[in-house]
Amino acid sequence: MTPTWAQIAYLVAAVCFILALKGLSSPKTARTGNLIGAVGAVLACVTVFFAVDLDHEVPMLAAIAVGSVAGVVGAQRVQMTQMPQLVALFNGVGGGAAALVALLELHEVVALSGFGDVPKFDLAAIAFTILVGSVSFAGSLVTFAKLQELMTTRPVLFPGLPVAFGGSLLAGIGLSVLLVVDPSLWVGVVLALLGLALGVLLVLPVGGADVPIVISLLNAFTGLTVAAGGYVLGNTLLLVAGTLVGAAGTLLTKLMATAMGRSVLNILFGALKGGSTLGAGEASDRPVRSAGPEDIAILLGYASRVIVIPGYGLAVAQAQHTLRELVDVLGEKGISVEYAIHPVAGRMPGHMNVLLAEAQVPYEQLKEMDDINGEFKQTDVVLVVGANDVVNPAAKTTPGAPIYGMPILNADEARQIVFMKRSMRPGFAGIENELLFDPKTTLLFGDAKETMGKLLAAVKAI
């Protein structure tokens, strides 16, 4: 039995986690909130070592040291552009840990089963944790591979996939029932393997642009497994923390899906219906109008109102610092410049805000989509840097397109549109952008950083 003082420490830790999430409602309190959460986590870990009589303390502390070093090194080394991959990876290992904990608990339950009945609800929670934890682990690793471009970012489909997925799901449920009725370790192990297969099958058919939503969903999954694990172990902190993350993750998934104008089910299984086979992912050879940095500089220098639409390509080229400098110079010339941030700009929702924050772009210049969409009509020049899908009119006009229904930035309403692009290759969603061929559009080809530098020099020269 856990002593009362430890129960209270767990309660304090749970409150710390709630405050951590609450702090994130404003950029001002977010960092403090996160630190409070970290303090809660440390408090909980110290408590468990003192409250419970544990064996193997030395190897366990060594394992914690190894994990801490790995976590800190990973977190410090990662580039901001790679953030979604890292979140996926961390989420996956958490899910894996939860599945292993449930397997060990099952091992213990089986060993003790001669001494009386195990409550069926405990076994159900164990089965849930093993299955869903494994799904989260394998799914997150596939997500990581997709985002890191270790494999194709396009939906992977093969003929038997829906059957395989459905079959594995049914088998998973069947084995879970078997585990509850007649607990044995091997059923648990098979269930874990099945969960791994399910995780892979779940994420394979999801296309690149939708992957962030899957990360969020798997995050919620892991939260729920932790909650179930807390129930099995009789630990309130795990139950509360896991449920918090599960609820928050589910809501966040829904918010993101709404921002893309899709339902979560459509994102997960849309490709299975064969709906999103559009888009060859190849460069088009239709004629476009392009110009050099000097021409674009004149266009910008004589505008009175400019909106910049930054995309992931900007961050990949590490051109955000040069862009900020360009905006500063235009500002000095008395030109009003703002950034229009699409909710899913970058590789995950809010990613672009992080990337621009890294380049020290002032907060006030960043405008969210709903706030700025009415203002494109009064805008002289829209500068689209490394973005594509978020301004693609196909989202409004082409019902078959994978991004159809996604709210977009109304760049097409501006008087002039300038695209800075490396090539004519389509965006993450793999479809062609009609806006590129619009008579109002001018293209500026080249590596974003290099071209941005030339553009900056040209603007200064005016």
Binding site: L54, I64, P362
Partner: protein, 130 residues
């Protein structure tokens, strides 16, 4: 556990707290939010410690240690990386730096700050073309 109804109560109330707390988060912070929530479910570390510390089979000990490493990576890495992101949001504070140097061209990054801070307020009204 002997009192499933108590656990159910805690569960349901936590669901509401989770939803309530998240619905106020601005989309600007969705990425740190995901990574912060991610760090929180790293408390499965506690579960890993509890099961590993009470086992007496070598195989289970090995599996438990793996679980501890994985859970620690999740928790520690999650909090550190979230802090790294939020730190950048924090540096937005306008600096009371009044060095009279309007030409920011020479210094690419940090020293260009004074001018950027002054911009947004003045920009919006001046429609004057150069």
């Amino acid at each position: 556990m002997s009192e499933p109804i108590v656990w159910l109560t805690i569960f349901v109330l936590s669901v509401f707290v989770g939803i309530e707390v998240i619905s106020k988060v601005s989309s600007t912070l969705h990425t740190p939010l995901m990574s912060g929530a991610n760090a929180i479910h790293g408390v499965i570390l506690l579960g890993a410690i509890l099961v590993t510390g009470s086992t007496d089979s070598t195989g289970a000990l090995a599996v438990g240690l793996v679980a501890i490493v994985l859970a620690t990576v999740n928790m520690v890495g999650g909090f550190v990386v979230t802090d790294r992101m939020l730190q950048m949001f924090g540096t937005r504070r306008p600096r009371p730096d009044t060095s009279a140097q309007p030409n920011t061209s020479a210094q690419p990054n940090t020293s260009a700050r004074p001018t950027t801070n002054a911009q947004p307020a003045t920009n919006t009204q001046s429609g004057a073309r150069p």
